[in-house]
């Protein structure tokens, strides 16, 4: 018996230039904020951009971007709506604001289902907000999407960086490209993370400050793009 869904995934992804999985070793480092802000930045520069929230049990990019009242269109599959210039896809269209408790096999199934029904058409960039860590979603994307690349987010904390080290080592072992590391929520001038990133053999893309204004800007993309956090994430765009 063969699961036919996986046969269409590469066909669905054919029109996409770059697929960037924004990932982290652990939660709470600002990965969704980086993913959403990066998608906004690329869209503002005139690129065709998609944002795919794959953090099924804790989706949050729709809150960051203030997305509500839209639904995908049914047209020989599912066509994501365009919001703030971004083709936006998330499980929230189907789960609403309710809790979606999923075990590993369910995460895999939901991921395969969404990858095989979503019609992105032509995109320059598809930014994926990943669930943290090296669990089912990460392993499935590596297995199913041929040209995936990872952008890894950390904080200055050694606890966060230790989990990043594991994630990056795994990706390197599997020969999956790592575009680089973003150090988020920086509160001092230490360059420890920069040095450790260099030791890992990975590019240090940007450091973004701990910025209390970001919380005030949640749900408001204009405000968000004017924060010092977003200005730093803008520096990532030309490097990718």
């Amino acid at each position: 018996m063969v699961d036919p869904r996986t046969s269409t995934i590469n066909e669905r992804m054919r029109g996409i230039g770059r697929i960037i999985a924004v990932s982290s070793g652990k939660g709470g480092v600002g990965k969704s904020l980086v993913a959403a802000t990066l998608a906004l930045t690329l869209a503002k520069k005139g690129y065709k951009v998609g944002l795919f929230d794959l953090d099924f049990t804790s989706p949050s990019t729709h809150i960051i971007l203030g997305i509500e009242g839209v639904q995908p269109k049914e047209e020989k599959g599912i066509v994501p709506p365009i919001v703030h210039g971004i083709k936006y896809m998330s499980i929230i269209y189907y789960s609403g604001e309710y809790a979606t408790p999923l075990r590993g096999a369910d995460v895999s199934n939901a991921l395969i289902e969404l990858l095989s029904i979503t019609r992105w058409d032509k995109l320059d960039f598809l930014v994926i907000d990943m669930p943290p860590g090296i669990g089912d979603a990460t392993l499935d994307l590596i297995r199913l999407i041929k040209n995936i690349e990872f952008l890894v987010v950390t904080t200055p904390s050694q606890l966060a960086f230790e989990t990043v080290r594991k994630l990056v080592s795994l990706l390197k072992e599997l020969k999956i490209p790592v575009m680089g590391i973003v150090e988020n929520m920086k509160m001092n001038k230490s360059n420890v993370i920069q040095e450790q990133t260099r030791k890992l053999g990975v590019k240090f893309l940007a450091e973004s400050p701990y910025d209390p204004e970001v919380e005030e800007a949640i749900g408001n993309t204009n405000k968000l793009q004017n924060t010092s956090f977003a200005k730093k994430i803008e520096e990532v765009a030309p490097q990718i």
Partner: protein, 136 residues
Amino acid sequence: MHEWALAEAVIAAASEIAEKEGLSEIKEVKIKVGELQQIERDILEFALSQLKSTKFKNAKFNLEIAKAELKCRVCEHKWFFGKEKLDESTAEAIHFVPEVAHTYIKCPKCGSPDFEILTGRGVWLESIKGVKQDDG
């Protein structure tokens, strides 16, 4: 799963298998679809008829729906999925992404959303019959 996306997936997967097995013509494709997918048979059959390439010209698509049985992981109660108990938008959400069943369905005995889908989730190509290139 959306019927058109499913039809595309079935044709793509069956073509891959036909290629591997050296089939020049496909006579029959057996598809098993879980009840949770809530596929509309007419739409799927129409989509298949529109998408099939010349290799599938005389192919018959046999569709079997597998009943969805659920089992609570907490109290071990088993029950069958009942679409009729869901409102339209919930049924549609589960149709597109069956895993959101965990958002809306709870164990009827203890109320837990932590249940296992024993049967009736997923889409499978059960078998493909065709003519080998060598058979002329």
